[in-house]
């Protein structure tokens, strides 16, 4: 056991059981999965991405590249989870990934033998040709050999939600700088949100455990958190990662509500996505330690010194029994000192520097450690680390060690200062990039600003809060700075041991070595963005938190340019991976978007209707009856019922816009291609409107209910778009017009009643004394009436089916009553399928033809375009390309062999010509089986179509392998004279 006998911030009264690769292990509350694994001497945790090399735990935080596991099991399995950030809970189950058949014996490790093939640029070099090999051979091979964890493949049983928050000051990170900033702002009465990704707040105070006001730093942090919690306007959010900065002081954050529990509690989400709008923000994200690159630096047991210190001080875990240290800076010596104090054997401390402050070396020497200055580690050996090879003052020596704590210095966590495009600048003194310009409203404090000393963190946090609140005219006073001592922080830049033996890894997660960077340099991929893409440096899920700087420093050394001239790659959100589930929230499955239901939906359900999605709507598609073999039989029955008797259909989904005002007619004249101000009161008219570019935008029937009152209908799909367009016309184009609009689509249930017996049925619905006779209420009449004994209604004699037909609109709540009355009167309910069949039989253009690329002339409506007035789209509809008679135009099609089925999407090819794109003359837009004419019929856009009636062409459908002969015909298949409409 590597658990220390005492100390740490774990709760020894709360032991927790957990499983890793089927081994039953024990940890404590306050552990991470990584600390608990180390406490159980589990050092081999995973296999690397490309070479399947054994890997252990490198870090103690979100920067971890190696220790990725599959957390939980079954549908809750979460691949690529960083063991270093997983809060241990009782009965946690995790397993290693990217190994086969087992972690200890990984047959895929053979990849190491072909490592020369998998080096920098290997994708580009190896898999260029032939391209057909990619899909069939290379990709499956790579996917099997390289990769990380696997998704469960099952629906996620948990929920995720989204929330918004607003504050004066958002503090990102609850280390010393962040806590001090939050305290300062809270005491000034500001609305504060303090967010930290960890489950315990305190940042490095928990890891380094310095004295603040003579008390342990962790205690000071706990007291600060308790004080913050006492303010009503302060929200402390642990387990919450602020992952991105967006426009307008908006910050994205993900709160892990239930990730530390076996399953989420009732009515709680697993995660919550926060959109935080902050007037000001202080970034106190701390710093990230970086490794030194040397041969064999990926062996399990090689860890960052700061992480070793965290495990000892915070989790009471000795990372090993026999520890060596290799560093270029003072911080690692303090880690070694803390280990000694905790009773862990530190036998060797290796520093690349010639001289190290005796105040640092003395305690180590006293503790029995060998101190090797001007020295470096050049290699390691053992499956798990057993031995290191050191070059000390020119001499090589092998030294036993099961843990090597390494440190190449610390880099401020500048990511979020760069999310809106700013770049950090190089600071020679700390050998790191520090923030320069920052997003509006965001300032930086503490280690994230490159101020590593504890007193600087505390005073910097307070100062940043005071400045931020000052911008908001909130007066804050500087709190007394707590007494503390700054740790020494000297560093000498050092990145890569040139004398390395064996592979020296820069990016551990993507298996990018120092040699790969040399190859990229040699082959000319020297710019950082090229280096990144050529070698995949920093492109793994850790986004190179521990490797980017080292990689570009090695490149800078190769090119001879300095690091500042070499520059960094762009930091983009998210700072750490965010689950897609959190981004989706409740918007999945049926709740992906709201579903709109027609007023008769529940009634149609009771009739056994089958529904179809039409945009956001669910509409009754057809109403099957017992004994009907398939949908086609049902639809045929519905069509024939309308054509021979009477049927009804809910058409409420059409957009309805109420248009009122003295200039309403003028507005319609300008938006429709045909004339409107001449329309008489009590009349309806079909209209077509164009976009400015001359293409058809929408069509529909509009009726004049009074001198200043029109009711417009739009297609279902374009209802919102047309409304917005009309508002644009009135507010932007012609503000002088006196017209008011209101969308009334939801307010009216509208049912179509169609068939030779429509008037007969309607007579029992419409209240007396309304005169339904053909003389009193002819085709295209519109008016107001009452129905069913006093229900207010609007009646339109319009027809989509080509039959004698009416549409009745009643207040939406009366829709079901109307449907029930029509059913009782003997009318047959029909759905959108029969509606579609009948409109194709009548040659009406619909969504398939109004596809944004057709003109009025293309649809056979060219003659509707008024020459006496101007209207939107008129000018551009006259462009030569749009008036070319060779343009595909709407005609009908019938199969030459009536037994053959037509296919929508088939392309028209002249008889005898090759079925190639050059001979394409248009395509079939809509098809249906017509029970009225007894065979399949189609509408399509054919070049020069109206002049080719009677001609035969091929309808070629390469997708479904169909190639049939069709005859071009008039698009109206049923009652071409329109006699049935007018009876």
């Amino acid at each position: 056991m590597s658990r220390l006998a005492k100390g740490g911030l774990i709760d020894r009264s709360q032991p927790l059981d957990f499983e890793f690769d089927d081994r039953r292990l024990k940890g404590y509350a306050g552990d991470t999965l990584a600390s608990a694994l180390l406490a159980n001497d589990v050092r081999l945790v995973g296999r690397s991405f490309k070479y399947h090399r054994p890997r252990g735990i490198l870090t103690a935080g979100p920067d971890e590249p190696n220790a990725l596991v599959e957390l939980r099991s079954g549908a809750r399995r979460e691949p690529n989870t960083r063991a270093t950030t997983v809060e241990l809970y009782d009965r946690l189950v995790a397993s290693s990934q990217n190994r086969w058949p087992s972690l200890g014996l990984d047959l895929m490790a053979v990849n190491r033998l072909v490592a020369p093939l998998l080096g920098a640029g290997f994708y580009y070099k190896t898999f260029m040709w032939p391209s057909a090999f990619w899909e069939k051979l290379y990709e499956p091979l790579i996917r099997r050999a390289a990769g990380l964890g696997t998704a469960s493949g099952l629906p996620d049983p948990d929920t995720y939600e989204k929330a918004n928050a607003f504050c004066d000051l958002l503090v990102i990170g609850a280390g010393p700088a962040g806590l001090m900033a939050a305290l300062t702002a809270a005491r000034a009465g500001a609305r504060v949100i303090l967010a930290d990704e960890d489950f315990r707040l305190g940042g490095r105070l928990l890891s380094d455990n310095p004295l603040i006001d003579d008390r342990p730093g962790a205690d000071w942090a706990a007291r600060a958190v308790a004080e913050l919690a006492s303010f009503p306007d302060v929200t402390v959010m642990a387990r919450t990662t602020v992952f991105g900065v967006y426009d307008g002081g908006t910050y994205g954050a993900v709160e892990r509500v239930s990730d530390h529990l076996t399953t989420p509690p009732a009515h709680q989400p697993r995660q919550r996505l926060w959109r935080i709008v902050a007037k000001r923000a202080v970034l106190a994200a701390g710093a990230t330690e970086r490794p030194i690159v040397f041969g064999g630096n990926d062996r399990p047991g090689v860890m960052l010194a700061g992480a070793v210190r965290t495990y000892a001080n915070r989790h009471a875990v000795a990372a090993g029994d026999d520890v060596a240290v290799f560093a270029n800076n003072d911080g690692a010596w303090l880690a070694a000192r803390d280990l000694l104090r905790a009773g862990v054997a530190v036998r060797t401390v290796i520093d690349i520097r010639d001289t190290v402050d005796p105040a640092l070396t003395a305690p180590l020497r006293e503790g029995g450690a060998r101190v090797l200055t001007n020295s470096r580690v050049i290699g390691t050996s053992g499956k798990l680390l057993g031995e290191i090879e050191v070059l000390a003052d020119g001499h090589r020596a092998r030294i036993a060690a099961d843990t090597l704590a390494i440190s190449g210095g610390w880099s401020p966590t500048v990511h979020m200062t760069c999310h809106l495009g700013d770049r950090p600048v190089w600071n020679e003194e700390i050998s790191a990039f520090v923030p320069d310009r920052t997003p509006p409203g965001l300032s930086v404090a503490g280690a994230a600003a490159g101020k590593f000393g504890l007193s600087e963190c505390l005073s910097g946090g307070a100062g940043a809060a005071i400045a931020a609140l000052g911008d908001l005219s909130i007066r804050a006073t500087l709190p007394a700075t707590p007494r503390t001592e700054d740790e020494p922080r000297r560093v000498t830049a050092f990145w890569h041991v040139a004398e390395s033996k064996g592979a020296a890894f820069v990016d551990l997660q993507n298996d990018v070595t120092a040699k790969d960077i040399a190859i990229a340099h040699r082959e000319g991929f020297r710019a950082v963005e090229h280096l990144k893409r050529y070698t995949t440096l920093g492109m793994a899920t850790d986004q190179g938190k521990t490797s980017n700087l080292t990689g570009l420093a090695i490149m800078a050394a190769l090119t001879g340019k300095g690091i500042p001239q070499t520059g960094t790659t762009v930091f983009r959100p998210p700072y750490t991976p965010v689950a897609i589930g959190a981004l989706a929230g409740h918007h999945r499955g049926r709740e992906f978007r709201p579903t709109r239901l027609t007023p008769t939906h529940a009634w149609a359900e009771r009739q056994g209707a089958v529904f179809v999605e039409a945009g956001a709507w669910l509409r009754a598609q057809y109403y099957p009856k017992p004994g009907e073999a398939d949908w086609l039989e049902t639809v045929n029955r519905e069509v024939l019922a309308v054509r021979s008797g009477v049927g009804f259909c809910d058409v409420s989904t059409l957009g309805k816009i109420d248009i009122q005002g003295p200039d309403a007619g003028t507005l319609l004249d300008r938006v429709y291609i045909n004339a409107w101000s001449t329309l008489g009161v009590g009349k309806a008219r079909y209209g077509v409107m164009l976009r400015e570019d001359g293409m058809v935008m929408d069509d529909g029937t509009t009726s004049r209910l009074g001198p200043d009152h029109f009711i417009m209908t739009t297609t279902t799909a374009n209802a919102a778009k047309v409304y917005q367009h009309l508002e644009f016309c009135l507010q932007v184009l012609w503000p002088e017009l006196d017209v008011q609009l209101a969308s009334v689509s939801e307010q009216w249930a509208q049912l179509s009643i169609a068939g030779p017996k429509a008037r007969e049925v309607l007579a029992g619905i419409v209240d007396a004394p309304f005169d339904l006779s053909n003389e009193a209420f002819p085709f295209m009449a519109a008016g107001e009436a009452t129905v069913l004994g006093g229900t207010r209604a609007r009646l339109f004699r319009i027809s989509f089916s080509g039959e004698l037909a009416y549409e009745i609109a009643v207040p939406a709540r009366h829709g079901v009553g109307l449907a029930e009355a029509l059913l009782a009167a003997g009318a047959t309910p029909y759905g959108t399928e029969a509606l579609g069949v009948m409109r194709i039989e009548k040659g009406h253009a619909a969504g398939n033809e109004l596809n944004g690329q057709t003109t009025a002339a293309d649809l056979g409506l060219g003659r509707m375009m008024s020459k006496k007035k101007d209207f939107i789209g008129r000018a551009l509809s006259q462009r030569p390309g749009l008036t070319d008679p060779k343009r595909p135009a709407l005609v009908g099609f019938r199969p030459v062999d009536p037994a053959q089925r037509l296919r929508g999407g088939a392309h028209f090819i002249p008889m005898g010509a090759d079925a190639v794109a050059a001979n394409d003359q248009g395509h079939m837009t809509s098809v249906a089986y017509s029970p009225t004419v007894g065979h399949w019929i189609g509408l399509g856009l054919l070049s020069d179509g109206p002049d080719r009636i009677g001609e035969r062409v091929r309808a070629v459908d390469p997708v479904r392998n169909a190639d049939i002969e069709v005859e071009v015909c008039h698009p109206v298949f049923v009652d071409p004279q329109g006699d049935k409409l007018r009876v």
Binding site: D247, G249, R280, P440, F728, Q731, V732, A875
Partner: protein, 94 residues
């Protein structure tokens, strides 16, 4: 962009101060484009419909408050920073 050459950035970026509804999230609005084109102004209609400048800097543009008051607004936005410095009803003269 050279340091110091960018205009000052404000903290109101992608929220739009609707003169009717107050400051609202940009998601409530639909975007149309350049608010300074006049239709029709007697020029080439093709240019009027299709040709737009793509300025880097201050821009007057049309936004529609579809999820709010349904007013068309002229919004002043800096295309480099998304800083929004004003919004007025399109119906009213500037």
């Amino acid at each position: 962009m050279r340091k110091g050459s960018a205009p000052s950035r404000t903290c109101t970026d992608m929220r739009i101060p609707c003169p009717y509804c107050g400051t609202r999230d940009a998601h409530e609005f639909g975007y149309l484009g350049d608010a300074t084109t006049r239709r029709p102004d007697g020029g080439d209609p093709f240019d009027q419909v299709h040709i737009r400048d793509n300025p880097a800097g201050p821009h007057e543009e049309l936004w529609y408050h579809g999820a709010g008051c349904r007013r068309w607004l002229v919004v002043s936005r800096d295309t480099r920073t998304h800083a929004i410095t004003g919004a007025r009803f399109a119906k009213e003269p500037a």
